[in-house]
């Protein structure tokens, strides 16, 4: 006849109350779980996205704003200097431009990316056809990989011709260059609705009419050696004062401070509200239930049943409701998170592989800890109520009542 057993019998006896309270905790707990998944999910998913590219350092021009930096000038020279560093395994330039298709119908604006990356491609997953040729052997043919959305929109298949011309600057007046679609691919950093074209740096140069400004928005670097990214960042930063190197951790930390701070703050506010709601729900139910049983509790005290047993019984009642509600909250919150994730990821400009809600064991543990603390705090007032219950006057009131 433990306190837990008595609490279980009480829960069974007042079945409707228990079920309603459990459902209430489950719903609020699901929301709490979702907020916990959201608080770290986006950052962790973003970090995972960066790390999966195979490059752990990003080099940009130190001038300009964080999100609109001036391209690095003499980028090939900078890249070569970076590649010579003992802390660096490889480096690749990325040039980002806007272009327009010239297919005869309605032109489509596309994001054009030129890269010097060779070897296995990680950020782009080829779905149909082949990859870009390595080296400059096929440079004149302007080979391109196109995103699925663009391929569907323009009915492109591997081998199709895609006329492209720059959409801004003097080059926009040039005739379109007929590029050859070598493959259809998904980009890790693109949304499902993005129209993007990846080509070699020579291909990009061809689209721009042969002009080579030797610039790059980003130089991607893979570090090596025991010092890892930190040592490579230090070495790269010493090459030229007008470039700045960021490890993936730096980028994540920066986004965590700036871009993701809103999500974190929303998540903290909503998590706090859900914890308070859970507390209020359980505390109210327990307090009402205790008030309904004051005569019974006074009688138990008169019979010599100790305060401790009554207190632990109430605590167990709270733990039972919050515990079972919390357990139901996990799959329920998981389902809601999946649906919310789907909705958020369908927003324009959101990379398809970026997740807002990421299942993490830490979130489950934190969810459990928060609910356990809530259960204890919620039981505190009813316990205090019974501990200081005047036995004689309560019994008298019950009889008169």
């Amino acid at each position: 006849m433990t306190s837990a057993w008595l609490a279980w019998r009480t829960a069974r006896r007042y079945r409707a109350r228990t079920v309603l309270a459990t459902i209430g905790v489950a719903v609020i707990g699901a929301l709490l779980f979702d907020m916990l998944l959201l608080s770290h999910g986006l950052v962790d998913s973003f970090a995972d996205l960066l790390n999966r590219t195979g490059y752990d350092i990003r080099v940009v021009n130190s001038q300009g704003l964080t999100l609109s930096r001036i391209p690095i000038q003499h980028a090939s020279e900078v890249t070569a200097a970076i590649e010579r560093l003992p802390e660096v395994a490889s480096a690749a330039r990325l040039r980002l431009e806007r272009a327009q298709t010239a297919t005869g119908g309605a032109d489509v604006d596309v994001g054009l990316i030129g890269t010097t990356h060779t070897g296995a491609r990680v950020a782009w997953t080829v779905l149909e056809g082949g990859d870009l040729p390595s080296g400059s052997a096929d440079a004149g043919a302007c080979p391109v990989l196109v995103t699925r959305n663009l391929a569907q929109k323009l009915s492109l298949t591997p081998g199709s011709t895609l006329p492209l011309r720059p959409s801004a600057g003097r080059e926009s007046a040039l005739p379109a260059v007929r590029c050859r679609v070598v493959g259809i691919a998904d980009s890790m950093f693109s949304s499902a609705t993005d129209n993007e074209v990846l080509t070699t740096m020579a291909g990009l140069q061809a689209i721009k009419g042969g002009a080579d400004d030797d610039a790059a928005e980003i130089v991607l670097v893979a570090s090596r050696g025991q010092g890892g990214a930190a040592a490579a960042v230090k070495a790269i930063s010493a090459i030229r004062p007008d470039i700045r190197a960021y490890s993936n951790e730096d980028v994540v930390a920066q986004f965590n401070r700036n871009g993701f701070a809103y999500f974190r703050q929303i998540s903290i506010v909503l998590s706090s509200i859900t914890v308070v709601f859970t507390f209020l729900l359980v505390a109210t139910i327990l307090t009402v239930s205790t008030n309904q049983r004051l005569g019974e509790i006074a009688a138990l005290r008169a019979l010599g049943i100790g305060r401790r047993r009554i207190a632990t019984m109430l605590l167990w009642e709270s733990v039972l409701v919050v515990g079972s509600g919390g357990l139901i909250a996990l799959p329920l919150g998981g389902l809601v998170a999946m649906e919310l994730d789907r909705i958020l990821r369908s927003m324009p400009g959101i990379p398809e592989r970026l997740h807002f809600f990421l299942f993490e064991v830490d979130a489950v543990i934190l969810h459990g800890i928060l609910l356990a603390v809530t259960a204890i705090v919620a039981a505190a007032y009813p316990i205090w109520l019974t501990a200081r219950l005047p036995i004689a006057s309560t019994l008298r009131r019950e009889v008169i009542g």
Binding site: M1, L6, R9, T10, R12, R13, Y14, G295, E296, A299, L300, R301, A302, L303, G304, I305, G306, R307, R309, P390, I391, A392, S393, L395, R396, E398, V399
Partner: protein, 226 residues
């Protein structure tokens, strides 16, 4: 009154309740001695202080003045835990409204005080079976209070009061919620409990029940008048 050492003794006790409209004196300068195998009935009109005296003797309340001595110990000098232990093992309580735990069966209600007192499961099962047989509820042992009649609930409550073999049973209007016939059965049970050597202090409006006691005290306005 039976000779012998008193189980509990109230010496000049008064109880004043502070109220918003001013203090109310429920009990003034009352003395009472209950020895082993005493059977005392307290009668009187509502609000005369009967239940207040019973609560003081039963160690659930403390007097404003005067002394309650339970088995040679001044109750005022005891901690709440010690008073609780006395109530658990030395006093059996029977209430007008039974106060059986609604989620426990009759058997489990009788077992509960024994479990609290640390009685081993086998011993308490045997004692519970014996007590339910004693009060005539052996065949209703596994019924919830909601499945029992008023008389059966009060008999289960008496079995619970006797669970830890207390030398004193205090009962507050034990037949107050029962019809005449059922009240008589419960009164018979109290007679039997008393005959088996347990002292009884009961508060009642029921003159038939009071007449069964070996000693009757009449109270009025917080004092014992006869």
């Amino acid at each position: 009154m039976t000779d012998g050492r008193p189980i509990v003794e109230a010496r000049g006790v008064s109880r004043v309740f502070p109220m918003p409209a001013g203090p109310v004196t429920a009990l003034r300068d009352v003395s009472l001695r209950i020895a082993a195998a005493d059977y005392v009935a307290i009668t009187g009109p509502s609000g005369c202080g009967k239940s207040t005296l019973l609560h003081l003797v039963g160690c659930v309340d403390a007097p404003t003045s005067g002394t309650i001595v339970f088995e040679d110990r001044d109750v005022r000098s005891l901690t709440e835990a010690e008073r609780s232990r006395i109530r658990l093992t030395r006093i059996g309580f029977v209430f007008q409204r039974f106060f059986l735990l609604p989620m426990l069966t009759a058997r489990e209600n009788v077992e509960l005080p024994q479990a609290e007192a640390g009685v081993e499961p086998a011993a308490r099962r045997a004692r519970t079976a014996e007590l339910l047989e004693y009060v005539g509820l052996a065949n209703r042992a596994d019924h919830l209070p909601s499945q029992l009649s008023g008389g059966e609930m009060q008999r289960a409550a008496i079995a619970r009061a006797l669970a830890n073999r207390p030398p004193l049973v205090v009962a507050d209007e034990p037949t107050g919620e029962l019809d005449e016939e059922t009240g008589r059965h419960v009164a018979n049970l109290f007679d039997r409990v008393h005959a088996d050597g347990t002292a009884i202090l009961l508060v009642t409006h029921n003159p038939v029940l009071a007449l069964r006691a070996s000693r009757r005290l009449a109270m009025k306005n917080g004092t014992v008048v006869s």
